[in-house]
């Protein structure tokens, strides 16, 4: 009986957590598919797609820096476009969650990871084939790791297809940091002082920093920020056990203005 339970468990674990080259992956906790932003996929232009991840209520996956626990969601795109390098889709700004002092940076419900593909004019295949390799850890009261290979073909438009937009993907672009700011960093024994140029007309209410660099900052403590002229300074305390690379600090900074608007930037800091 014990052996039967064990075999059933292993079988269902393998079945649910690994799928080979399917068009869409789905299990009880998560579904993953590749979706185009427009119905017509066209040559000679950049086409927008997204990895759409839908999570069952209460379940979550993690950002590229998962926080204090969890594992990053890893997505890798390849195509049948000649000389096309592998593409990492863009990660929207995650949700900050503090559970009894353990901070995680996560996604819930539906999340789009957009990516652009430029299809050359001389692309001679009938279909555009996109392959996604995905690896994730989905958690609620328990955590279940999973991975999948998803392959989907898209017909190249001959001009007859209607140009329909997927507004959900277009809206999701608002959560993607577009620009990069270069800043300066000064390290002390227990914190980093990050400075970068600021050029906003609106009054700042709050600044938040989502470190892409893992294992350096204490995510539980909010950053202290101050502005002086056209410069913003932000002090971020270090985590108790630093295992990350303090010489290469990257992150997403989120500005919230008094009028409620938000802006996100990728930030890189040098000495």
């Amino acid at each position: 009986m014990k052996k039967f339970v064990l075999i059933t468990y292993i079988f269902s674990f393998v079945l649910f957590s690994f799928a080979f080259a399917v068009e869409k992956y789905r299990d009880k906790q998560i579904s993953i598919e590749i979706v185009p932003a427009t119905k017509a996929i066209e040559k000679g232009k950049e086409n927008l797609f997204a990895v759409k991840v839908k999570l069952t209520k209460g379940w979550h996956i993690y950002w590229q820096n998962p926080g204090d626990a969890g594992e990053p969601t890893i997505l890798e795109i390849s195509t049948n476009i000649p000389n096309q390098q592998k593409i990492i889709p863009q990660y929207p700004v995650p949700t900050y969650k503090n559970t009894s002092g353990l901070v995680t940076l996560e996604y819930r419900d539906v999340v789009y990871f957009p990516f652009y593909l430029w299809i050359p004019q001389d692309f001679d295949k009938k279909d555009l084939e996109i392959q996604l390799k995905a690896k994730w850890l989905v958690c609620k009261h328990i955590c279940i790791p999973g991975k999948a290979i998803i392959t989907k073909k898209f017909q190249i438009s001959n001009g007859n297809l209607k140009f329909l937009q997927n507004n959900e993907i277009l809206n999701s672009l608002k959560l993607i940091p577009k620009d990069t700011i270069l800043g300066e960093r000064k390290l002390s024994s227990n914190s980093a002082l990050l400075k970068f140029p600021l050029n906003f007309e609106d009054r700042l209410r709050k600044v938040f920093f989502y470190p892409i660099t893992e294992g350096v900052f204490d995510l539980e403590l909010e950053p202290e920020f101050s502005t002086s002229g056209n410069e913003l300074s932000m002090r971020l305390p270090f985590v108790r056990y630093i295992w990350g690379d303090t010489s290469n600090i990257e992150g997403v900074v989120e500005f919230t203005f008094d009028n409620g608007k938000k802006k996100n930037f990728v930030t890189k800091f040098v000495k």
């Binding site: 626990a69 002092g101 958690c139 279940i144 790791p145 056990y241 295992w243």
Partner: protein, 200 residues
């Protein structure tokens, strides 16, 4: 009377100092007292002069299962406890949360996996977990013979649930313990812990 007042002042001051303690690398490991699954009180300071491993555990976490089902951690426990290392598995899962198992079930799992930890300790209010900054299961802390915390991090460098990865993984805990037993400085002090979040 004065002596009694002085005693209580010192007692409270000492208790407050203990509460304020926070484990840090290269600093004395803060003391704690926890009950094990046999109802015995275990005090860390009773094992001063010994190398102590603190392993945060949750038998329902797939990352912990990987290392127990494969026999990886039980073999390490067996090898090092035979060399005098004290191995404390600590469960900080709060009541009703994943990994907070009845004592009988814990004993059953230890037997099933051939676990050889010296103690399996219950920290259901999470005080010791937070004192040490335990984030994941598993999460390892190693204390040297001088009572200093010398390692915090993962068991190895393969953050996956795939048992096959154990063969090619760099085992940090083994490296630290081997060097401490040989009287050398550990090759690593801090690594990225991986696994499920501690269910505080």
């Amino acid at each position: 009377m004065k002596k009694a007042i002085l005693f209580w002042i010192m007692f409270f001051a000492f208790s407050l100092a203990l509460l304020a303690q926070e484990a840090k690398i290269d600093q004395p490991a803060p003391d704690f007292k926890l009950e094990d699954i046999n109802g015995m009180d275990v005090l860390l300071s009773d094992y001063s002069g010994k190398i102590v491993v603190l392993e945060w555990i949750n038998f329902d976490c797939p990352y912990v299962r990987k290392h127990y089902q494969s026999g990886n951690i039980p073999k390490m426990q067996d090898k090092y406890t035979k060399q005098g290392v004290i191995w404390m598995a600590i469960c900080s899962s709060a009541p009703g949360k994943e990994g907070n198992l009845p004592t009988g079930e814990i004993k059953k799992r230890i037997k099933q996996y051939n676990g050889k930890m010296t103690f399996y300790l219950i920290d259901s209010d999470g005080k010791v977990g937070k004192m040490y900054g335990a984030k994941t299961t598993p999460h390892f802390f190693i204390i040297n013979k001088e009572g200093k915390l010398v390692y915090s991090g993962a068991v190895d460098d393969k953050p996956s649930t795939d048992i096959e990865n154990i063969k090619t993984a760099r085992n940090y805990v083994t490296e630290v313990l081997d060097s401490l037993l040989a009287g050398k400085n550990p090759p690593v002090k801090v690594t990225k812990p991986y696994g499920c979040s501690v269910k505080y």
